[in-house]
Symmetry: C2
Subunit: 453 residues, 2 copies
C-alpha cells in the first residue's frame, strides 16, 4: 500500500529545472525551442492566435492598433525555461525576448543559431491508453517492444518475472509500479500503482502516456559525448548508456492528453480583450525601448509557433521561392506521436489580416491539401512551415507574380541565384521594410554558411 502512494515532493513556487527530454517528449516531435542566446523572430500576430485559442475568444475588432509595432520583431532570446502546469501537466515554455536594433540584426549568424533543433529522445515509447488501461478493473498493458526497449530487463529466471519500476514525472514526483510479465500468452503489465497514477492525472481512454529511459546526468553525458565523440562513434551509443545504466539511470513518465473538445476557460482573471491588448502593448513597449519582455509559448494549446529562429525565417522568406500553384510538403504529428508529411498546393499568397497586420509573413501562404481529410489542417501556413517541392507547379500560375526585388544593388547574387529567381507578391514585395536603415543583410556576411541549413 505504501507502494501505491506517489511520493509527492511538493516544490511549490518556481520549478528548479525541468527534465528537457521529458518536456520535449510531451510537447511532441514538431516542437523545438530556439537556443538561448540566439536571434529569433517574434510574431505578435501568432502570439495573439495563441491567446485567442486559450481563451476561446477571437480577437475583437475594437482593440487599439499599435502602429509602431511591426508584424515581426527580431529579438535576442535571453532565456528559455520549460514548465508544466501543476494541475494538468500541460507543457509550456517561458521565453525572455529583447528586440534588437538594426546593428545587432545585421551581425553574422553564430553557430548556435544554425544548429539543429533538439531532437526527441531515442529510448522512449508513447502509448495511447485503451479502455482497459484506464479502467479500475485492471492494469496497464505494456506493448512488448516498448517494454523491452525502455524498461530495465526483468530476471526471467523467476516465475513470474517481476520488478518494481520507479518513474518520475515533470514535477519530479515519484510513481512506483509493479512491472510483471505474466498471462497466457505472456505479456508485460503494470499492475500495483497504475490506477493511482491514472486517477491522480485524471487520465481517460484516448490520452497517452510516455515512458523514457533517460540518463540522470545527461549533461555530463553530453559533455563526454562532445569530448569523446570519436570513441563514441567507435564504441556506439550502447556503450555509453551501459556506463551509466547501473546507478544513474532513471525512468521518466509523461502524459499527453487527447485533443478533447476544449473546455471554455474564461480565465476569470483578465478579459480576453485585455490579454490581447496586453500582449501587443508589452511587445510595442519592448520594441520602443529595446527592453526585455516575457512570453509564454504553449505548444499544444494552438498550432502557432510564433517564435522562430531567425536563421529559419531568413532561409524561408528570402532564400526560398514560392508561387501560386507550387507543390509542397508539410510535417504533421500523427496520433502515435510520430511525424508524417502531407502534400498540398499553394493557392495564394496574401496578408492574413491586411488591415491590422499588413506586410506580415505570418500565414501568408494560402494552401489546399491533397487528402480529403484535410478539414482539420489549416488553410493558411507560413513560409517556414513548408518544404516547397522543386518540381514543376501543378498548374501554371494565373499571373507570373515575378517581381524584381528591391535588393541592395551592387551585391553579389546569392548562392548563384539571380535576383530574377525570386518571386514575390506585392504584399511581400519589400521584406526589408521593417528594418529601416538596414544595409547588407546578415546572410550576406562572409561567415554566413548556407550549407548549414
Amino acid at each position: 500500500s505504501a507502494m501505491a502512494q506517489p511520493q509527492q515532493q511538493q516544490q511549490e513556487g518556481e520549478q528548479r529545472c525541468l527534465n528537457s527530454e521529458l518536456w520535449h517528449a510531451c510537447a511532441g516531435p514538431l516542437v523545438s525551442l530556439p537556443a538561448v542566446g540566439s536571434r529569433v523572430v517574434y510574431f505578435p500576430q501568432g502570439h495573439s492566435e495563441q491567446v485567442a485559442a486559450s481563451t476561446n475568444k477571437e480577437v475583437d475588432s475594437h482593440i487599439p492598433n499599435y502602429p509602431n509595432l511591426p508584424p515581426q520583431l527580431i529579438c535576442q532570446l535571453h532565456n528559455v525555461t520549460m514548465h508544466a502546469d501543476a494541475e494538468t501537466d500541460e507543457v509550456y515554455a517561458q521565453m525572455t525576448l529583447q528586440p534588437l536594433g538594426p546593428q545587432e540584426q545585421k551581425e553574422p549568424f553564430l553557430p548556435i543559431e544554425l544548429g539543429a533543433p533538439s531532437k526527441q529522445p531515442t529510448n522512449y515509447f508513447c502509448k495511447t491508453l485503451t479502455a482497459s488501461d484506464t479502467s479500475t478493473h485492471g492494469g496497464f498493458s505494456v506493448p512488448r517492444r516498448a517494454a523491452e526497449k525502455v524498461f530495465p530487463p526483468l530476471d526471467f529466471s523467476q516465475q513470474p518475472p517481476a520488478q518494481e519500476l520507479i518513474a518520475r514525472d515533470l514535477h519530479d514526483n515519484e510513481w512506483k509500479f509493479r512491472h510483471i510479465f505474466r498471462g497466457q500468452p505472456k505479456r508485460h503489465l503494470l499492475t500495483t500503482g497504475w490506477s493511482v497514477f491514472v486517477s491522480a492525472k485524471r487520465l481517460v481512454a484516448g490520452d497517452s502516456v510516455i515512458f523514457i529511459w533517460s540518463l540522470v546526468f545527461s549533461f555530463l553525458c553530453s559533455y563526454l559525448f562532445f569530448f569523446f565523440g570519436k570513441i563514441h562513434r567507435i564504441l556506439g551509443t550502447d556503450y555509453f548508456i551501459h556506463l551509466f545504466r547501473n546507478d544513474n539511470n532513471q525512468l521518466l513518465l509523461g502524459i499527453r492528453r487527447a485533443n478533447r473538445p476544449q473546455t471554455v476557460m474564461p480565465s476569470s482573471v483578465l478579459s480576453s480583450d485585455s490579454m490581447h491588448i496586453g500582449l501587443l502593448a508589452a511587445a510595442a513597449h519592448a520594441a520602443a525601448t529595446n527592453s526585455r519582455f516575457t512570453i509564454f509559448y504553449n505548444p499544444r494549446a494552438s498550432p502557432s509557433e510564433f517564435v522562430i529562429p531567425m536563421a529559419k525565417y531568413v532561409k524561408a522568406v528570402y532564400h526560398t521561392r514560392v508561387s501560386v500553384g507550387m507543390r509542397f510538403r508539410m510535417l504533421f504529428e500523427t496520433e502515435e506521436s510520430s511525424v508524417r508529411r502531407y502534400m498540398g498546393t499553394i493557392t495564394g499568397i496574401s496578408d492574413l489580416d491586411p488591415v491590422r497586420w499588413p506586410n506580415s509573413h505570418w500565414r501568408s501562404v494560402k494552401v489546399g491539401w491533397d487528402e480529403s481529410t484535410a478539414g482539420e489542417r489549416q488553410p493558411r501556413v507560413s513560409l517556414w512551415e513548408i518544404e516547397p517541392l522543386t518540381t514543376f507547379p501543378m498548374y501554371p500560375t494565373a499571373f507570373p507574380l515575378r517581381l524584381k526585388r528591391p535588393w541592395p544593388s551592387g551585391l553579389p547574387p546569392l548562392y548563384g541565384m539571380k535576383d530574377d529567381d525570386f518571386a514575390r507578391t506585392p504584399s511581400l514585395m519589400n521584406p526589408m521594410m521593417n528594418f529601416p536603415g538596414l544595409g547588407a543583410p546578415p546572410w550576406l556576411q562572409p561567415s554566413f554558411n548556407p550549407s548549414m541549413f
Copy 2:
C-alpha cells in the same frame, strides 16, 4: 445508486443566468456588486492588485507608465454577469464599464445609485466541514438549527424520519442527498449522495458548504413585495414564503474553499507583466476613447474591491473627515461567514505608490489594528472601507492636517458643514484634479439626498 449520480446538465459555453442569491452567499457577506446602469469608480491600481494576487507576482517596476490614465475612472456600469469557475466553483463577476465625460459625471444621482447593496440570503446556513464530514467513512452532520431552518420539514411520524433532498449548485447541476434524522442522541445527517458531492467538488476539511432555501421565482416575489408592500408588512414574510413553498421552492448548494496556501498559477497563457500592461492599456484606451471595456472581479482572490459605487466613493472621500490618530471600525468576514468589526487607529494618510499612482485614494489610509492578531489584516485601507468614529482621536495628531479645500466658491456649504470641517493631507488636497473642467459636483445637485446614505 441512481440517487448517487448528480444529473450533470452540461451547459458548456456561456452560463445563462446564475442564481444571484447563491453567488452572493458564496462570495461572502462583504461582497456587493454595484447596480447595472449606475456610475462606479474603477481603480486600475486595485485591479492590478487582483492580477498580482492571481498570478502570485508583484507588479514589476519596468512596466510602462500610462500618464493619461488617472488613478480612478468614473464609469458607467453597463453590464454585470455573475460567473463560477467550471473547475473550482470559484465565483467571479464580469463587468462592462464605460468611462464617462465630465458632463455625465456631474449628473445627479439616480435612485439605483443610492440603493442599498444586495444582502445575503436569509434562509441559509454555512458550515465548515469537519474531518468526519469529508471522510469516506460517514456522511455529513447537519447542525440542528440549520436543518430546521433551511431544509423542508421531515415527517416525524415515520421511524426514522427521512427524505430525499435535491439541491442545485451554481452550474445548475442537481445533487441528491438522503436526509435522515437518527442516532442516539438524534441528529440530522446527509448520507447517500454526500460523498459523491465531496469528491466531485474535491472538498477537504476546512472548506465550507452553503445551503440556501430559495424561491425559484424570486423576481416575481420581489415584484409582489413591491406592489403589496403594505400587505406584506401586515401578513409578514412567512405568508409570502408559504405562497410559493409548495411547488416553486428549491434548495441551493454552494461551496467556499478554505484559504489554503495559494497554488502558484503562472497562468501559462500570458506573462504577469503583459497582464498588468494589458489591464492598464485597456483602461487607458477606454478612457481616451470613452469606449467600453471589460474586467473580471474575483472577490475571493484578493481583498481588492476595485469597482466602487460612485455614491459610496463620493461620500467617503468628500463627506467624511479623517485625520491621523482618528479611531475607526472596519468590517471583516469571520470564519463562519458572518461579519464582525475590528477597531483600529489611523496612523497616516499618504499615497500607496507616489511614483506610479500619485494622488490616488486607493489604500491611502495607513492604519494600526487594536488586536494582536492583526498580522493578517492589511496595513493600508481605502477611505470607503472604514467607518470613522466620531469620538475624539486616541491621541492628538502630530500636526493638524487641516487644509482649506479648494472648493468652488459661491456654493452653499454641504449639509450645514463648513469648508473648514474638511481635513485633507496634501496628497488628497485636491480631489477634483482628475475631473478637469468639472463644475458643481453631483452631490451638490438639488436631487442629491444625503439621508439615503
